[in-house]
């Protein structure tokens, strides 16, 4: 049966929390009311990526791309678009400038993207295995089961040049090969879905939009290395992804694509979920394994590597969600095809969660080697409110800042590392002129200090001490000798911490000191925060010349520390002021001064 129209409603966590589910239900009710259910299919898909403009509803075959849809728009969508065949202009994306309202093919956000990992997100119903299969799903597994030997699969991965997308960028084929070489009757496949970087949601969206791609890849891995059991370690804070995975596992079992004797062969493989309790360190593979084993999530020294001695002491391949989602495509299209995308040593694409002070925040997938400028200005649409770009943090709390001079550097593993950052799992947080770099470094460090498991001394105490120094600096208590201490601490933490968390925790500090030393010096020597972020260094005052006595600031002040008669200049009581900046932002006359 063919439908007249297909309505795709985004079911990603971002859109769901903006009432996408109500939109879905309302459109359905409208369709039912108009007796259109036979002619129109409505589907809840995974993330479209353009989260800034969510909730998103896309209607085929017209390719109408409706943004910022509200539940009450349902009637109009059905009556106008479906029944009368008229595109609803006001819901189309407003490309501004001179382009006006546009369809998806004219949205800059999508122009430079290239989707492998997110190939099905926003396209299929993630709860339908049939739709996955219709888009070549499980073809790769079939190929691996019937046409390929484990060595061929590893060879294909080697040609592809695929490297781990979880952060470290280790060659995937090597991991698989180590586990394959181990002689053991019991082996495991583990999918690391413990995504924890602030602002990052690549893995969540992949699992929400296309859960079967990960299941298929895990089964391929199981067949290749000789494992019969897989685990997906996923954060309990990802309920949508968990539900979709559970549904996908159920359907795959029903179709004989998981469980005993897959597709009639003698290969059996099954997958279970293990929910993480929200500890960032459990994204570190050895801590993750400990957690699956029911122990406290703390890293252990490597070697032995999990490929040799992993879960319960057995050889275990651990791959991140995004890494796995690439694999079915590599098998069906060939490693050489995949290897033709990207840069010399970084192949394929990378999914980034683009957030911060950028116009089009969202989830994007671009070929390796794309420049930051293309990502931030072409795809991301530049900086919000016409402000000036200052820096972008890549790699989450383990990464570093990249400044304007590096906007044209092609992004790949090597280049980022050379600049003192890392690829990490793919968070990109854009900062503008209003952001204080000391404050940013302190923010990230606070995160890693909070998330340190406490096992090793350099991370447990070093992070805390480093944070204390930054805190002093932002409060005007910094000393010029703090630079030496930060360097000393950074070096010791990098060299002597047990796991990646501690080794990379100083990165935001080291890189901001490197590129924004003058800002640190302003805090330390002049007791001044150039961007006005550090409350303890900011003084708000009212310019009596400019103040017209409108009383707005006094009314908005949460601690009532602004006095003044109507139409008379107001005064801020400095002793009571908590430096929230509310008066500064509400004053329409530029009378509130920040210094």
């Amino acid at each position: 049966m063919t439908y007249k129209n297909y309505i795709l409603v985004c079911g990603g966590t971002g859109c769901e929390s903006a009432k996408a589910n109500d939109i879905f239900q309302n459109i359905r009710l409208e369709l039912e009311k108009n007796d259109l259910m036979e002619q129109v299919q409505i589907v809840k898909t995974g993330c479209f990526g353009f989260c800034e403009q969510g909730p998103i509803v896309k209607i085929l075959p017209e390719e109408a791309f409706y943004v910022m849809v509200k539940p009450e728009d349902a009637t109009e969508i059905v009556e106008e678009h479906i029944i009368k065949g008229r595109t609803i202009d006001r819901l189309l994306y407003d490309a501004k400038k001179d382009k006006g309202r546009v369809h998806i093919e004219n949205i800059d956000f999508y122009q430079k993207q290239f989707r492998i990992v997110l190939r099905n997100s926003g396209v299929i119903d993630p709860d339908s295995i049939d739709e996955y299969i219709a888009r070549d799903g499980y073809l790769a597994l079939e190929k691996v089961l019937f046409e390929m030997k484990p060595e061929n699969v590893i060879e294909e991965l080697k040609h592809s040049g695929l490297r781990g997308r979880g952060g470290a960028g280790y060659h995937t084929w090597k991991k698989w090969n180590f586990a394959f070489q181990q002689k053991s009757d019991t082996k495991y496949v583990v999918c690391n879905a413990d995504e924890g970087d602030p602002g990052a949601y690549m893995d969540r969206s992949t699992l929400e939009g296309d859960p079967h791609s990960v299941l298929e890849a895990m089964a391929i891995c199981g067949k290749t290395i000789g494992a019969n059991q897989g685990y997906i370690y996923i954060r309990a804070e990802y309920p949508v992804a968990i539900n979709r995975l559970n549904e996908a596992i159920k359907q795959a079992r029903e179709y004989g694509l998981l469980g005993n004797n897959i597709l009639g062969t003698d290969f059996s493989f099954d997958i279970e979920l293990r929910l993480g309790a929200g500890a960032f360190v459990c994204g570190e593979e050895t801590a993750l394994l400990a957690s699956i084993e029911g122990k406290r999530g703390m890293p252990r020294p490597r070697p032995p590597f999990p490929s040799v001695k992993g879960l319960w002491g057995y050889p275990t391949t651990i791959n991140n969600v995004e890494t796995l989602a690439n694999i079915p495509v590599i098998i069906t299209k060939g490693g050489k095809w995949f290897g033709s995308i990207g840069t010399e040593n970084s192949k394929g694409t990378k999914v980034f969660a683009l957030t911060g002070k950028v116009n089009n925040s969202g989830l994007i997938e671009v070929p390796m080697g794309t420049s930051l400028r293309e990502i931030i200005f072409d795809i991301g649409g530049g900086i919000k409110d016409g402000k000036k770009f200052k820096a972008v943090q890549s790699g989450g709390p383990s990464g570093g800042v990249l400044t304007e001079e590096f906007l044209d550097t092609p992004i790949d593993y090597e280049n980022l590392q050379a600049l003192g950052s890392i690829m990490g799992s793919g968070g990109l947080i854009v900062m503008d002129e209003d952001d204080c770099m000391v404050d940013i470094a302190k923010f990230y460090l606070e995160f890693t200090v909070d998330e340190s498991c406490g096992k090793c001394a350099p991370c447990r105490i070093g992070g805390k001490q480093m944070h204390g120094i930054l805190d002093d600096i932002t409060k005007g208590k910094g000393k010029i000798t703090d630079f030496d201490l930060l360097e000393k601490l950074g070096h010791a933490m990098r060299r002597a911490s047990l796991c990646g968390l501690g080794q990379t925790a100083p990165n935001p500090v080291v890189s901001t000191v490197k590129y924004f030393k003058d800002e640190y010096i302003a805090h330390i020597e002049d007791k001044r925060c150039p961007s006005g972020k550090c409350r303890d260094l900011v003084v708000y005052s009212i310019d009596a010349e400019k103040c017209i006595g409108c009383t707005l600031c006094a009314r908005r002040c949460p601690v009532n520390c602004i006095d003044g008669e109507k139409r008379q200049p107001h005064i801020i009581n400095q002793e009571l002021c908590i430096k929230c900046g509310e008066c500064f932002s509400v004053c329409k006359f530029g009378a509130v001064l920040r210094s």
């Binding site: 500890a279 020294p301 070697p303 406490g454 001394a457 105490i461 060299r495």
Partner: protein, 583 residues
């Protein structure tokens, strides 16, 4: 094992494959500093002090956890490595009270030693203490989390060596602390008081409850008759506190020191051990030959083991020997037999015991059976470490003391009695007497090699004139658990128990490796101390407990015979199931 070639600091060596870099370096006289590593435990890799480099890589790796590989060139010391180690050490000190003068580990602290070696003169980081409360709820062990350096040894000992799971890491990051799960107090946790955590702690975060003050007070009391006993394993370890090699037998000097401290009579727990053999040996014969009672019979002299059984294996209580521990037997007799014989009012007797053990502090009030004399049979139990401190405090020049003798009636012992100090010793002593009890004959060769040594579980079939006695000896509670599980699994399958008689000691190596012994125990030290025990036995004129004339007199004059009514009242006890957690 295959040998491989490595370079260490530029020199070529052949080392065993599978060794860690730390072990390889130690072998060639290079000491890499460590704080968390302990040879009893798997490498935990926490402290970050043992970092080394492999030539050609800027990375630093942990020597404790990284195995050597063919052809690698290891650099253990260069200016950068030393600087990183120093920073880590400064960080650890910035989170430590550094009140060494008031610390139980003053002069005997691994952190203090590192700090001295690194010449730390100032700490560039802010002192960040957390004001955590001391947990002194346990009768045996005090937990001071403020001093903890998170080496993880105590938790790993408790989990890996002992399978007790009393303490855990709670919270995370800088807020991490070590405490029983769910933050209950130590005394309400599954802790069995073995004190291995305290013996492994590198600093003053876990230590024995110091009760020397109570003993000093008693010694000053003119109305009290002060008596004391020393355990078998004390005599081969106390000397270490005064510069002797581990295993040096200092029995005579210990008696002498105790007299100078002011004790009126010196007894020996070895006498109690001989008595235990008479009671427990008879119990075994009763169960094994006369088929009265459950088999296997399991020894009961170790109070941590008693507590562990009551908490984790209470279904095996019927298998437990009802004989009290030697030290409790001596206590009961001091306030009955000895008091009567000497014409002393038992209420005036102050009985102290010097034990290699923190658990004995718990044992002395374990049940009402520990008051069998009508008074608390043992008033205070001190560890070897506490006695060493008292001797030093009293200004006694220990190495130059004359060798003295114990006082008669509760002080004479056979070689068998002293064997109790080492793993397998109770079994060996029991077999010597069981042989006599079963066959009526004396053994030609009294040594049973099968029960000796540090193998975690020792199994043997002993031929007693054609009768096979199947024995097992286990030390370290993880090994004990494995043995007991074998017994339970056999029972579940409806099969006969694989053993007739099992000896259990909670601590690795037995009492020589007890939680109250001088610091620094490892397998080498345990072996040397055990050697001292075996030397004491082989030098004894009387080797078997039943030949000890003082024991024979005791039965003749007071107890009648083993397992008599009076024996049961004074020398035996009962057991009960205990919950892992008290509310």
């Amino acid at each position: 094992m295959a040998m491989i070639n490595v370079k260490i600091n530029g020199n070529d060596y052949k080392v065993k494959e599978g060794m860690t870099i730390l072990e390889a370096a130690n072998m060639v006289q290079v000491k890499v500093p460590t704080l968390c590593y302990h040879p009893d435990l798997p490498a935990w890799a926490a402290c970050g002090l043992c970092v080394v480099k492999i030539e050609g890589s800027p990375k630093m790796i942990r020597a404790c956890a990284t195995p050597v590989e063919e052809g690698i060139s290891i650099i253990t010391h260069d200016p950068e490595i030393v600087e990183v180690r120093r920073t880590v050490l400064e960080l650890i000190l910035s989170r430590h009270p550094n009140d060494c003068l008031r610390c139980p580990r003053n002069n005997n602290c691994e952190l203090q030693e590192l700090s001295a070696n690194f010449g730390i003169r100032e700490i560039p980081f802010e002192q960040r203490l957390r004001d955590l409360p001391v947990d002194d709820s346990s009768p045996s062990i005090v937990l001071n989390p403020e001093k903890c350096v998170f080496c993880g040894r105590c938790v790993n000992v408790c989990h890996e060596m002992q399978k007790v799971f009393a303490i855990e890491f709670l919270s995370r990051g800088f807020e991490t602390r070590i405490a029983p799960a769910a933050d209950v107090r130590l005394n309400d946790s599954p802790c069995v008081y073995c004190g291995q955590c305290s013996a492994h702690c590198p600093v003053g975060a876990i230590y024995e409850k110091d009760e020397t003050h109570d003993v000093w007070m008693a010694l000053r009391d003119p109305d009290k008759v002060k008596v004391v006993q020393i355990a078998p394993a004390v005599r081969v370890a106390l000397g270490e506190s005064f510069g002797y090699e581990p295993g040096t037998l200092v029995t005579g000097k210990t008696y002498s020191a105790l007299r100078r401290l002011g004790f009126d009579a010196i007894f020996d727990t070895n006498f109690g051990a001989d008595l235990t053999i008479m009671e427990e040996g008879s119990e075994f014969v009763e169960r094994f030959v006369d088929k009265k009672g459950a088999l296997p019979l399991i020894t009961s002299c170790c109070p941590s083991w008693v507590d562990y059984l009551e908490k984790y294996y209470d279904d095996m209580i019927p298998n437990f020997s009802t004989a009290k521990s030697p030290h409790e037997m001596v206590g009961a007799l001091a306030k009955t037999y000895y008091a009567k014989k000497m014409g002393i009012d038992p209420s005036k007797i102050f009985m102290a015991s010097i034990m290699p053990c923190t658990s004995k502090k718990y044992e002395i009030t374990r049940t009402e059976d520990m008051f069998s004399s009508g008074y608390q049979d043992i008033d205070v139990s001190l560890t070897t470490r506490e006695l060493a401190r008292m001797i030093k405090q009293a200004g006694i020049d220990f190495p130059n003391l004359p060798d003295e003798q114990a006082d008669s009636i509760l002080g004479e012992y056979a070689g068998a009695g002293t064997l109790f100090g080492a793993t397998g010793g109770v079994m060996e002593a029991a077999l010597r007497t069981a042989y006599k009890l079963i066959t009526g004959k004396n053994l030609g060769k009294v040594e049973f090699e099968a029960t000796r040594g540090l193998e975690g579980i020792k199994e043997a079939v002993i031929d007693i004139e054609g009768i096979d006695v199947r024995i097992a000896v286990a030390h370290g509670l993880t090994n004990v658990q494995n043995v007991l599980d074998k017994v339970k699994e056999a029972a579940a399958r409806g099969e006969k128990s694989p053993y007739d008689f099992i000896e259990v000691m909670a601590c690795r190596g037995g009492c020589v490796g007890g939680g109250g012994q001088p610091y620094g125990a490892n397998d080498r030290v345990r072996q040397l101390r055990a050697k001292g025990i075996y030397n004491d036995d082989s030098a004894s004129k009387i080797r078997c407990s039943h030949d000890n004339p003082a024991i024979q007199t005791l039965y003749k004059e007071f107890l009648d015979k083993p397992l008599s009514e009076k024996s049961h009242k004074l020398l035996h006890t009962k057991y009960k199931s205990r919950p892992l957690y008290n509310k």
